[in-house]
C-alpha cells in the first residue's frame, strides 16, 4: 500500500470504526466495549475477545438526555448516546471502568438501559501513591480475569496473556516510533494523521493494526527536518471532535508531545516481562503518567506536563477541557497559575462533542497560534 492509502484506511476506521468492527464480528469476533480509561485491553484480548475503547459520537444526542442531568460531561453523554441509540447491537459486552462520580453512576445507568451478554465493572484504584492501590489493582484485575473466563467458558492462560502483551507492546512501540518520527520531522504526517493512528488503535485488533503501521514506517522518510511550524504540547484527557486536529494543521501547528489519555498515556507504557502476568499488568498501570481524576503523588499532574514541555522544547500548551468534566474543572485554575509562573503560553479550549466548528474556538486558537509565532520569531 502507499502511504496515503494506509493513512486513509486508518483515518476511516478512526472516524467510524463500526464497518471494521462489523466485519470482525461476521468473522466470529466478540466485541467488548469500555469507556476511558485504564481497562487492561490485554486481558480482554487474551480471553479471545476484541477490546474496543469507546470514544463517543458526534452525531446528535437523542436518547442520552433522558438519562443524564444536563451537567453530565460531554464524554459520558456521547458515550451513552453512541451505544444506546446508534450502535445498540454492535457490542457483545462491556467492561466498565469507574474513575469519577460520573463514571460510577453511568455504570449503573448503563447496566439498566443497555442489554448485553456481558457486563462487569472495573473498579480501578483512585489513588496511586500507596501500596494498597497496587494490591487492589491486582485483586481487581484477577477478578476481571475470572469474570471473562466465566463469560467465554474457557480459561485465560498465562501463555495467551503473554502473547497478548507481546502484541500490544509491539503495537504501542510502533505508534511511539511514528510519534518520534513526527517529532523530528513534523511535516512527515499531519497532526490529524498522527492521532488517527492513535485513535484507530482504540478500535483495532493489534494483528490488523501492526502490519499497517510497519508498512507505514517503512515508507516514511526518517531524516529530521523542520517544517517551520510552531510546536505544541497537547494536554487533557481526549481531543474531540477529531476535526480539532485539522484546525491545528490548518493553523500550522505541529504536535510534538502530549499528556492525553487518548494519546501518550495510552501508548507510552509497555507491559513488562514478569513471571506473574497479573503483576505485570499492575506494574504497567502504576508506571503510567498522571490522569486528572486519579489522586497522584503531590503535584505530579502539573509537574509531568512541565516535564513534557521541557523535553519537547514546545512553544506552548493547548489544554483541551471536556465540557462539564469536573475533574478538569478543579485542576485548571492552579494549572493556569503554574503555567503563568513558568511563562509557558497555554490556552484552554472548552470542547464538546456535537460542536465541531465552533467559530469561537477557531478564532481563539488562531490568536493563540499567532502569539506563539510572534514570541518565537521575536524572542
Amino acid at each position: 500500500m502507499k502511504k496515503e492509502e494506509i493513512l486513509k484506511t486508518l483515518h476511516d476506521i478512526s472516524a467510524d470504526p463500526f464497518p471494521y468492527l462489523r466485519s470482525k464480528r461476521e468473522n466470529g469476533a466478540k466485541i467488548i466495549g469500555s469507556p476511558l480509561a485504564d481497562v487492561p485491553s490485554e486481558m480482554i484480548y487474551a480471553a479471545g475477545l476484541l477490546p474496543v475503547t469507546i470514544l463517543g459520537t458526534n452525531k446528535p444526542i437523542v436518547k442520552a438526555g433522558a438519562h443524564l442531568p444536563d451537567n453530565a460531561c460531554s464524554l459520558s453523554r456521547s458515550n451513552l448516546e453512541l451505544v444506546l441509540n446508534y450502535h445498540p447491537d454492535d457490542f457483545d459486552g462491556f467492561v466498565f471502568p469507574q474513575v469519577c462520580d460520573t463514571t460510577q453512576h453511568l455504570s449503573d445507568i448503563w447496566k439498566m438501559t443497555i442489554s448485553s451478554e456481558f457486563f462487569t465493572s472495573f473498579l480501578i484504584p483512585r489513588q496511586v501513591d500507596r501500596k494498597s492501590a497496587r494490591h487492589w489493582f491486582y485483586a481487581e484485575t484477577s477478578r476481571l480475569r475470572d469474570n471473562l473466563e466465566r463469560y467465554t467458558g474457557s480459561p485465560i492462560t498465562d501463555e495467551a496473556l503473554k502473547e497478548s502483551f507481546r502484541l500490544y507492546n509491539e503495537n504501542r512501540h510502533l505508534l511511539r516510533e511514528i510519534y518520534q518520527i513526527k517529532r523530528e520531522a513534523p511535516g512527515v504526517i499531519s497532526d490529524r494523521q498522527l492521532f488517527d493512528l492513535i485513535r484507530s488503535f482504540c478500535y483495532m485488533d493489534p494483528k490488523d493494526h501492526i502490519p499497517l503501521l510497519r508498512e507505514l514506517i517503512d515508507i516514511l522518510p526518517k531524516e529530521p527536518s523542520d517544517d517551520g511550524n510552531v510546536k505544541v504540547v497537547l494536554s487533557g484527557i481526549v481531543v474531540e471532535p477529531a476535526q480539532l486536529f485539522d484546525i491545528l494543521d490548518e493553523l500550522k501547528v505541529s504536535i510534538v508531545g502530549d499528556d492525553l489519555t487518548v494519546g501518550s498515556r495510552m501508548i507510552a507504557y509497555d507491559v513488562p516481562d514478569r513471571e506473574d502476568v497479573v503483576e505485570a499488568l499492575t506494574e504497567r498501570h502504576f508506571a503510567k503518567s498522571p490522569f486528572s481524576p486519579i489522586r497522584d503523588v503531590g503535584t505530579r499532574l502539573y509537574d509531568f506536563l512541565l516535564q513534557v514541555v521541557e523535553e519537547t522544547h514546545a512553544d506552548g500548551v493547548i489544554y483541551f477541557h471536556i465540557k462539564f468534566c469536573e475533574s478538569q474543572d478543579y485542576d485548571l485554575p492552579d494549572m493556569k497559575g503554574i503555567m503563568r509562573e513558568k511563562k509557558i503560553p497555554m490556552i484552554v479550549l472548552d470542547t464538546e462533542y456535537q460542536s465541531v466548528t465552533k467559530a469561537q474556538t477557531k478564532t481563539r486558537l488562531e490568536a493563540f497560534v499567532e502569539s506563539l509565532y510572534g514570541e518565537r520569531d521575536n524572542g
Binding site: Q98, D101, D108, S121, S132, E326, D331, P333
Partner: protein, 414 residues
Amino acid sequence: MGEAKQKMTAKEFSKQLTKKYYEGAKHAHEQGKFIAYTTAVSPAELFYAHDVIPIYPENHSVMMITHRMTAELSESIERKGYTSHLCAYARSDLGFRELHKSPIGGIPDPDFLLACNAQCFTLTKWFEVLSRRYNAPLFVFDTPQFIRDKRAREEIIKYVMEQIYEMIESLENLTGKKFDFDRLKEVVEYSRQASILYKTYLDMAAYKPSPISIFDALINMAITVYLRGTPEAVEFYRLLIDETMENKVKKGIGVIPNEKYRLYWENLPIWFKFRDHFNLLASYGAVILTSLYVHAWSYDFDPSDPVRTLAENYASVFSNVELEERAEMALDLFRRYSLNGNLMFLNRSCKAVSFAIHELRDIITKKTGVPALVFESDMGDPRFYSESQIRTRIEAYLETLDQLSYEKERGLRN
C-alpha cells in the same frame, strides 16, 4: 454541672456542643493540636482516637449557604477561573478562602486532609486544591463502588482495611505519636452508641402522626457528623430522644397539625429554602419525613473489630452502592415509615447523589405505585433556584396526590 444539664434542652445542648467544638478547633494550633479536614462520610474515629481535631468544610459550607453567602463567595472564585458548575459546598469553601467571610469567623487551616470517596469524588478534587494551597498532605481514602459481588466485597473490605492502617501510619507521622488501638475501640463504641441513638431518633418518623420532619433530622444530624466518637454525642441523642418522646410522641402531637402526606425526599436539602418548603408543604397537610441522605450516618459498628467495622460501614454508604441496592434502601424507608409521596430533587451541585435519578425514580415508582416529582435546582446557590417554578411544580404535585387520594377514597382506584 449535672443539674445545669438537667434543665438544658436538646437544642441548647447542641448549641453548646457546637460552640465548644468550634472554639476548640480555633485554638487547636495554639495548644499544639493538629487539625485534619475530613469528609462527612469518613472514618473520623481515627482522628478522635488520635487526638487530632476533625474539621468538616462541608459543614461550614452549610452555614455559609444558610446565611445566603454562597452567591457572593462563588463569584469571588469564578473570577479566579473556577466554574459555577462545581458543588456549592466546594464553591462556598473556596470562596471563604478568598474573602475570609464566614458566619462563625471561619475555620482553621488544615495540617492534614482526608477525602473518602464513598461519598463523592468531588471532594477529593476539592481537597486536592486545598492540599496544594496549604501544602498539607491529602489522604484519599478510596472506597470502590460496593458492588453486589461477594468476592469483590471481600476484596474491597481488605483494600479499605489496608488503607485504614496506612492512614494510621500517616497520622503517626503527622503527630509523632504512637496510635492507640484500645483508644480506637473506645471511640468506635461511642460512635456505635451515637449512631444507634441517631437512627432511633430518625425512626421516630414512623409514628403517626410523625413527631419529626426531615428538617428536624437535618438540624440534629450535625452532632453525629462531627462529634460521633465522643461521649457528648451519645448524651445529646439520649436527651433528644427523651425530649421528643415526652413532648410529642406521648401526647400524640405531630410535627404538622393535619398530616395527610408523608413524603420521601431524594437528595440533600435545598439548604437555604428548607423552612419555606416546610411551610408550603404543611399548608397542604404534607410533610417530608426522611431521606437516604439523613440515614447516611446511621451506622452499625462493632467495636470488637474496629478496623474492619470502620471499613464495612464507610464503604457501604448509600452513595457508594449500586443503584438497585440504593433503591432497596429507599424502599425500606417507604415501607417502614408508610410514605405516600416522593419528591426527587436533582441537585446540580451533587452529581454523586443525583446522577441516576431517573432510573431510581423508575424503580421506586414501580415498586410503590407512588407518583414522584423530579425537579432540578441547586442545594446552595440561589442563582440556580427558581422560586416560582419550583413552587408551582410542588403545588401541582400535591394536587395530584390529592386527586389520587380522592379517587382512592371513592373506590375509583386501588
